[in-house]
């Protein structure tokens, strides 16, 4: 990459940069050659960074006023909502921010699935991403416990109880997690501690995620390797910065709508009832972003196998680069995969829907079929498709829009295969 040759103009800059090459880093980040055909699905990386920072800043502010104690947590949240200056704003941004964060991360993940961004040489970026996603779920779950409402308490009870499915040591692990014999004050204080810690772990992993991205560079909608820098790329600044900024602003409008006009629509009413260990809510439902996995958990009749299925549903994504045997990245040139992709999207949405419904009758049946299909997609369809599918001809560069129509295409192809 050209940025190794970078030298600051000023003497002071040179002196500093020889000792700590921060200016080289800044230069690399601004000049970073980015494919010029990135569409708006690619703006969600920047949006997610914004979400993380928003959550950290609002979270820090909330932590200054929140009291992590079973007898005072609910009251301290009401104190924030009523008496802290703009406390209602900070809390609603934080609570809805979690939902917006997940909305963005799901779009980000499904963009990656569509354009095959997880394939070589980007497996490490993808795996770090999956770890970030897992940590996000842990942070979100523990954050939901902190207001100490009914859903907080019973959600925590249900989820921590999953560990009791582990043979022999399960019960012991649950007691250890709780710090007692039920979800109580020790559980709340440790969840608060971890909820505070995890975002900073995510921040570290995000740095690695971006670092790993900057080694091969961005994938792109055509899914081909491109020369960098070249006619196919633009410098990150100002081109991508302004485009990401524009998309971020649109995202913020949606975000603001929820915060100011529907701040509680994504939450559950029961969480405005203070936690009561003696009263179980009629339906215990997690937040919307965990519903597909909740549906998978409940669709298996055996507790242990249900937990295994739920965890596998997430972990299977980590080995996706090796399950997808197709050499072609972008679904644009994979007519069959494209169809299966949209079926998978529908499948996950259906799982989310039945996850919110009582696990009985038709809902349970749908959940089971959808769960089976989810695994079928990754374990059977993807590996087989790589061998069977007839893909469309792929262009050689972004600037060459013609798919096989160009006279020098065949010649260029030959040349490329020789290089390989």
């Amino acid at each position: 990459m050209s940025d190794h040759d970078y030298r600051p103009k000023s003497k002071v800059g040179q002196w500093f940069n020889d000792r700590l090459p921060l200016l080289t880093l800044a230069n690399h980040l601004t000049d970073y050659p980015t494919p010029k055909n990135l569409n708006y699905w690619w703006t969600f990386g920047g949006i997610l960074t914004f979400c993380l920072i928003t959550q950290i800043v609002t979270g820090l502010t909330l932590a200054m006023h929140y009291i992590a104690h079973a007898d005072m947590a609910f009251e301290s949240v009401e104190h924030i909502m009523r008496d802290v200056n703009y406390g209602w704003l900070i809390r609603y941004i934080h609570a809805n921010g979690a939902s917006m964060f997940f909305l963005a991360v799901y779009i980000h993940i499904f963009r990656s699935l569509f354009y095959g961004s997880y394939k070589a040489p980007r497996e490490i970026i993808w795996i770090i991403g999956i770890i970030i996603y897992l940590l996000m779920m842990a942070a979100a779950f523990m954050g939901y416990v902190l207001p100490w409402g009914q859903m907080s308490f019973w959600g925590a009870t249900v989820i921590t109880n999953l560990f009791s499915a582990i043979p022999l040591v399960g019960e012991g692990i649950v007691t250890w997690l709780w710090g007692g014999y039920s979800v109580d004050n020790p559980t709340l204080t440790r969840f608060f501690t971890l909820h505070y810690l995890i975002p900073f772990l995510i921040l570290g992993l995000v740095v690695l995620h971006i670092w790993a991205l900057h080694v091969p560079g961005n994938n792109n909608p055509v899914g081909i390797d491109i020369k960098k820098p070249s006619k196919d790329t633009v410098p990150f600044h100002p081109y991508i910065v302004i485009k990401d900024g524009f998309a971020l602003l649109m995202f913020m409008i949606v975000f603001a709508f929820f915060v100011f006009y529907a701040p509680n629509i994504l939450g559950h009413a029961d969480n405005y009832i203070e936690a009561n260990p003696m009263v179980t809510p009629a339906h215990i439902v997690p937040e919307w972003y965990l519903l597909p996995f909740y549906a998978i958990l409940r669709s298996v009749p055996d507790k242990l196998l249900g937990v295994v299925a739920m965890l596998s549903a997430i972990l299977i994504l980590a080995v996706l680069p090796w399950l997808d045997t197709s050499k072609i990245r972008s679904a644009v040139f994979r007519p069959l995969y494209k169809q299966f992709y949209w079926i998978l999207v529908a499948d996950v949405l259906i799982l989310g829907y039945v996850g919110a419904m009582p696990a009985e009758g038709l809902y349970l049946l749908i959940a089971r079929v959808a769960t089976a299909y989810y695994f079928l997609h990754f374990l059977v369809i993807l590996p087989v498709l790589g061998f069977k599918e007839k893909t469309l001809p792929v262009p050689l560069s972004i600037t060459e829009p013609v798919l096989g129509g160009s006279p020098n295409l065949a010649a260029a192809r030959n040349k490329e295969s020789k290089i390989e």
């Binding site: 485009k243 006009y261 009413a269 405005y272 989310g352």
Partner: protein, 259 residues
């Protein structure tokens, strides 16, 4: 771009329909025009003041409102009683304070900084006085019920003779809108139960509307400033988005590529 919008709206639709799905299974709630809904929604001051009257004369004998203070009654965006009125309201309650220098608890008239006085010492006392059922604290009640204000408004007017196939225990009443239709609270309102100072006719419907408005405020005391700030924030964001859009078009015109 178009696809982006489509996906956004589909996802939002799914999310919102999910969270409402439980409420949708139940009966249709009674509707009324709430002044606090919508982009510019504000509370109807007179309704809030009447609602406070209903709360304090009817509900407060069983239901606490422990997160509210008397000072809130005079704060902007609420019922906006004058400070003198709020002080008088506070002073009409006996507050237990102490211990004093002799180590004794004593009672004194309430002050603006006091929290609303609770009808019972504790949950057990409340249950004992209400046949085992705890009258829930009303501070955030409308946010704690699936149907929100419409549910509370309907419930207050939903008392009926039980259908012949439903048998009720002593002290249990039939309510069309209650979850499971059985409620331990007797119909709290009847026409003319309170006498409004402003001459409004105190029908059950009117009192239900007033007290529900009051409960909405008690659950969301900053609703008005939220709506005002939200409108400004969104207008600001839209203007900025348009400006950034044109800057983006300008910058990208240097390369042959679509944005």
């Amino acid at each position: 771009m178009k696809n982006l919008f489509k996906l956004f709206s589909i996802i939002i639709l799914i999310i919102t329909s999910n969270s409402n799905s439980f409420a949708a299974e139940k009966v249709e709630y009674l509707k009324t025009d709430w002044s606090f809904k919508g982009l510019f929604g504000k509370f109807d001051r007179a309704s809030l003041q009447r609602g406070y009257q209903v709360y304090t004369e009817v509900c407060a004998s069983c239901h606490s409102m422990k997160y509210l203070s008397y000072r809130n009654l005079a704060e902007p965006g609420g019922p906006e009683f004058s400070e003198a009125q709020a002080k008088a309201i506070a002073a009409s309650f006996e507050v237990t304070d102490g211990p004093n220098s002799d180590g004794e608890m004593f009672t004194r008239p309430g002050k603006l900084s006091d929290k609303f006085v609770m009808p019972y010492e504790n949950v057990k006392a409340a249950q004992a006085a209400n046949g085992g059922a705890y009258p829930p604290d009303m501070s955030v009640l409308v946010k704690a019920r699936g149907g929100g204000v419409d549910y509370i408004y309907s419930l207050l007017q939903g008392y009926e003779e039980a259908p012949s196939n439903v048998s009720l225990d002593d002290g249990v009443y039939y309510n069309k809108y209650m979850y499971g239709n059985k409620i331990r609270m007797a119909a709290p309102l009847s026409d003319g139960l309170v006498e409004y100072g402003d001459g409004t006719n105190a029908t059950v419907e009117q009192m239900s509307k007033d007290v529900t408005t009051f409960l909405m405020w008690s659950a969301e005391p900053h609703l008005e400033s939220r709506h005002q700030m939200g409108f400004k924030a969104i207008v600001y964001l839209i203007i900025l988005t348009v400006l950034v859009y044109f800057s983006m078009k300008r910058i990208w015109s240097r390369v042959e590529s679509e944005v």
